[in-house]
């Protein structure tokens, strides 16, 4: 036991030592203080799924969903006082989806099936070369008809003098509001509040709050000329209204209600990424994650991708991902729990299942621009097919265009 303890303490001291070497001579390269656009990315994604376990209809019913999303990311840089690099990222995402099951929020199937989500964000970071640290702040918003979100984040990182080791910590706070839209047959009389007192006169739908506090720690290390690894650990605490009010449940006596979930949840995911450059043409990108939470779910995720460089500018990467999870304490299928039970959901996301995801990624980075367009420096296309043992099947195709 003592040997193990001394080994751990000794290793920890080695780890600290890797951050405590003296600073190297800095270069005297000139950096312009002017703000300039360094890079722009457009990420377009189309997703389509089918299944027969919709939570809106109590765990039985169509899960047909189509989603089309576009994200524009702009990265600006400038050099501030003391030659400190300042990076500013501005992102804007817009998703439009149609979900067949949304029609059944009303019992007649007449509710609207489409929705749009808009989510802008802004992040600012400053690098201090002398201290080898980076500090950043950011804010993000997300708006859709049933859900609003406001979030703030902060990041701190420090790397070793040889840049082979880095530690980073990130904190995120989300303050979300869930609009309380109930299934039509379960709408309480008080759910439509008239805002006449504020002069509006039109009915407003009340919301309930959901808060999320998340911290993430990453330790990354270059093992040798061909290998690097990152250990990632998150600690997440959620509170407030954590269900969705339009998810039905059917009790064992055939009566209907809405899903009931606890008002707190604690999540602990830990992951490892390990990348290996084998020979001159193949890169193995691997990932493993173990997840456990306070609702009884534990899950394993493992993925591998082999990027084969057909030429120095073109790579083809087949990939495979396996996922498995145990059921939540609160999940039961339709008619699975008696009236009066404290918590009950028939959302199959919380059931026990396995999932497989496989596909291919193409990446093309020519020297003189894609299709001869000088500023279009990279194009990446990715297709994947996803299947769960619950019967959910999905296809996803994505495109990333990078402009420099």
């Amino acid at each position: 036991m003592r040997k193990i303890f001394l080994t751990v303490v000794g290793s920890f001291l080695l780890f600290l030592n890797s951050f405590s070497q003296s600073a190297a001579d800095s270069t005297s390269e000139y950096h312009s203080p002017d703000l300039k656009l360094e890079e722009a990315n457009l990420v377009t994604n189309y997703y389509s799924q089918t299944g027969n376990h919709s939570a809106i209809t109590g765990g039985i019913g169509t899960q047909q969903v189509n989603d089309f999303s576009n994200i524009v990311e702009l990265r600006y840089i400038r050099w501030g006082m003391m030659d400190r690099k300042i990076t500013m990222d501005f992102d804007l995402g817009i998703d439009h989806h149609t979900a067949a099951s949304s029609a059944y929020v009303s019992k007649s199937g007449a509710s609207k099936t489409g929705g749009t989500r808009v989510y802008p964000s802004a992040n600012w970071q400053i690098e201090n070369n002398e201290k080898r640290t980076t500090f950043g702040l950011g804010a993000a918003l997300s708006f859709e008809y049933t859900y609003h979100s406001y979030s703030l984040n902060a990041i701190y990182s420090k790397h070793s003098i040889d840049k082979n080791t880095e530690f980073s910590a990130r904190a995120n706070v989300f303050m979300d509001a869930v609009k309380m839209i109930y299934p039509s047959e379960l709408r309480p009389v008080t759910s439509a509040v008239t805002s006449a007192s504020s002069g509006g006169g039109s009915p407003t739908i009340p919301s309930k709050l959901r808060s999320t506090f998340a911290t993430s720690f990453t330790f990354s290390h270059v093992i040798n000329k061909n290998m690097q690894v990152a250990l990632i650990g998150d600690v997440v605490a959620q509170g407030g209204y954590l269900g969705l009010p339009f998810h039905r449940v059917y009790y064992s006596n055939k009566s209907v209600g809405i899903e009931k979930l606890p008002d707190s949840r604690f999540k602990l995911p830990v992951g490892v990424r390990f990348n290996y450059f084998a020979g001159d043409k193949v890169i193995f990108r691997t990932y493993y994650r173990y997840y456990v939470d306070s609702w009884g779910i534990s899950a394993h995720t493992a993925s591998i991708e082999a990027a084969v460089k057909i030429t120095p500018f073109l790579s083809v990467s087949p990939f495979y991902r396996y996922y498995t999870q145990t059921t939540s304490d609160y999940f039961a299928p339709k008619y699975g729990k008696p009236v009066g039970v404290t918590y009950f959901t028939s959302n199959y996301d919380y059931s026990a299942f396995d999932a497989n995801y496989e596909g291919i990624n193409l990446r093309y980075v020519p020297l003189n621009g894609v299709f001869g367009i000088k500023n279009l420096s990279m194009i990446e296309l990715r297709y994947g097919h996803y299947g769960q043992t619950t019967g959910l099947v999905a296809n996803n195709i994505s495109l990333n265009l990078r402009f420099k």
Binding site: S160, D162, A214, H221, K225, K267, P269, N400
Partner: protein
């Protein structure tokens, strides 16, 4: 209990091997492979969409630089 010991042992072995190997320095001029864009220790930008649908349709999330539960009506 036995399973838990195996996991703890594996994790300790990985961490210790990493820490011990931190004494070896890979010089900047030796990093042409490490600096390859596909060696990045993060998800690709083009994976944003699939990370999002996996967060919506699976109970687990996090530890991949993506969403952990806030910001959407997902798990």
């Amino acid at each position: 209990m036995h399973k838990r010991n195996i996991w703890a042992g594996m994790l300790t072995a990985i961490v210790l091997s990493l820490l011990i190997s931190s004494c070896k320095t890979v010089k900047e001029y030796q990093k042409n492979k490490i600096n390859d864009a596909e060696m990045e220790l993060s998800a690709r930008k083009v994976e944003k969409g699939e990370n999002s649908f996996q967060t919506y349709s699976e109970g687990a999330s996090g530890a991949n630089g993506g969403k952990v539960g806030g910001g959407c009506g997902c798990n």
